[in-house]
């Protein structure tokens, strides 16, 4: 977000609970997060949007916003809240509007055009994957990714967390992530169990890979096609492996998917689009246009 705003000549500073900083800067917009609670001045000119977790009639245990966080968000009197879902996922945040009378704005993950691009370099590996592994995430990684890595030996995994021995090379610095993703021919995308079931919290990976020109295969998220027509989504781990294999062996399919995914992400799923929507829904119509057209 910060990168994107700055590229469009917005002035951006990081606020860390210092009211003096706030009043000297006098922002038009403050973006906060319920997971990083810092009280903000109630008497202010700025509009306020806070990232929140789901709070809706369908309950997602372990993912829903806590009562404590809901109360904290309400005290900040935000103009809107936003969460990692698309328009069609609104039901999972519905109570923010229905019970708390706070507008919800969809803010799914996206790709950052200022970082990710197709470098047109040689693709050293059949499969590349970058990400963490921990208890909850391991459930889907172990089901989908690890069998895939056994099938396709030309692979490289970089990341952090609790990976089985010999699978993950190392954590890599942020400034080489684009180059790393560009080094693969196919990018498997793993999400978490609640994403499979509920469709929210789609990780950024699927969008980043598209900008790198690397076709992706996503694990089982049945709602993904509604918002990303070019997505290649697997029914189960076997299908996941088969689809990766098909991409690697069928050059026509490979090129078609790569082109379609890149075009669609550039058209609909960059942070330009997300921030443009956020600004528009907060009433910053001119600034929204500026972002959309930049």
């Amino acid at each position: 977000m910060v990168q994107r705003f700055k590229r469009c000549w917005f002035n951006v500073i990081r606020y860390d609970n210092q009211e003096d900083t706030w009043h000297r800067f006098d922002p038009d917009l403050y973006i906060g997060c319920s997971g990083h609670r810092q009280n903000i001045p109630i008497n202010r000119r700025a509009k306020v949007a806070i990232h929140v977790n789901p709070y809706g009639p369908p309950s997602i245990p372990g993912i829903d916003e806590s009562e404590q966080s809901i109360n904290w968000v309400k005290k900040q009197k935000p103009d809107a809240v936003f969460g990692y879902g698309f328009d069609e996922d609104k039901i999972y945040w519905k109570f923010w509007e229905d019970r708390e009378n706070i507008k919800w704005i969809p803010m799914p993950t996206a790709a950052d055009r200022t970082i990710f691009s197709d470098l047109n370099i040689s693709k050293e590996y059949d499969i590349v994957y970058l990400g963490g592994r921990w208890g909850y995430k391991a459930k889907t990684i172990d089901a989908f990714l690890l069998p895939l890595l056994k099938t396709f030996k030309s692979n490289k995994v970089c990341g952090w967390g609790d990976w089985p021995p010999g699978v993950c090379s190392a954590r890599i610095p942020n400034d080489v992530v684009n180059e790393f993703l560009n080094s693969g021919r196919v990018g498997p995308c793993i999400s978490e169990l609640h994403t499979h079931k509920n469709g929210i919290d789609v990780p950024e990976r699927v969008w980043k890979l598209a900008l790198c020109g690397v076709p992706s295969v996503h694990d089982s998220v049945p709602t993904l096609h509604n918002v990303y027509k070019s997505a290649v989504v697997a029914k189960d781990p076997t299908d996941f492996s088969n689809l990766c294999g098909k991409l690697l062996s069928d050059s026509d399919f490979y090129n078609q998917v790569a082109n379609d995914q890149t075009s669609e992400v550039l058209k609909n799923h960059t942070y330009h689009h997300r921030l443009s929507r956020l600004l528009h829904d907060l009433g910053f119509v001119e600034e929204s246009s500026l972002l959309a057209n930049s």
Binding site: P57, S59, T223, N226
Partner: protein
């Protein structure tokens, strides 16, 4: 599973009040046994089991639901338990927006509910159709017709897709366009059972 008693076999179409019927049968003390998978169809039981003669000898009961509320209930249930890509219908139609879900159904699986109904309501065997909308009344009448005595059943339905006190009807609201899609897809069911 279909539920078989000495005098009837009940087939359970998902989201048609079947869990309530099962509980009612079991609470009434009628001795019963389960046959096949939870939602085994009449067509399937005839194919997989040697059941043609049993279905001819006994009353065969199937509960159905108005397509308009069946889609609402199905979607609300999925909002509660989540979508599954292993379910071909979910795979093609999943959406967390009800009206988008209905468009996906129309575009990709318009015959799905018709197919379900056709798989259960085989005229040659089924002689008692219970409507979800009048579930208790229809079931009570069916039991009286079959056993010749009255049982009283309360309408405390279970397995409904309630979410924080909201019923599926509140959660899943048709717009004008998607409401029209239901009659296009399932008009003949509506005409036959709900005219």
């Amino acid at each position: 599973m279909a539920l078989e008693t000495d005098k009837f076999v009940y087939f359970h179409i998902p989201k048609t009040g079947g869990t309530w019927i099962r509980n009612a049968i079991k609470k009434s003390g009628i001795i019963c046994k389960e046959v096949g998978d939870t939602h085994i169809t009449v067509r399937r039981i005839l194919h997989d089991y040697d059941y043609a003669h049993i279905l001819r000898d006994k009353h065969v009961i199937v509960s159905i639901r108005n397509p308009y509320s069946w889609y609402q209930s199905y979607w609300s249930f999925k909002m509660k338990v989540g979508w599954s890509m292993n379910n071909p219908f979910d795979n093609l139609c999943a959406s967390n927006d009800f009206n988008r879900f209905m468009i996906n159904v129309y575009d990709n699986c318009s015959e799905y509910y018709n197919h379900i109904i056709d798989s259960f309501l085989i005229d040659e065997y089924v002689n008692c159709v219970i409507l979800y909308e009048s579930l208790v009344t229809d079931f009570t009448r069916a039991m009286r017709d079959i056993y010749g005595f009255d049982c009283s059943f309360s309408d405390s339905r279970v397995n409904v897709s309630d979410m924080s006190g909201l019923r599926s009807y509140d959660m899943a609201r048709y717009n004008d366009y998607t409401y029209g899609l239901v009659s296009k897809m399932n008009g003949h069911i509506i005409d036959k059972y709900y005219a």
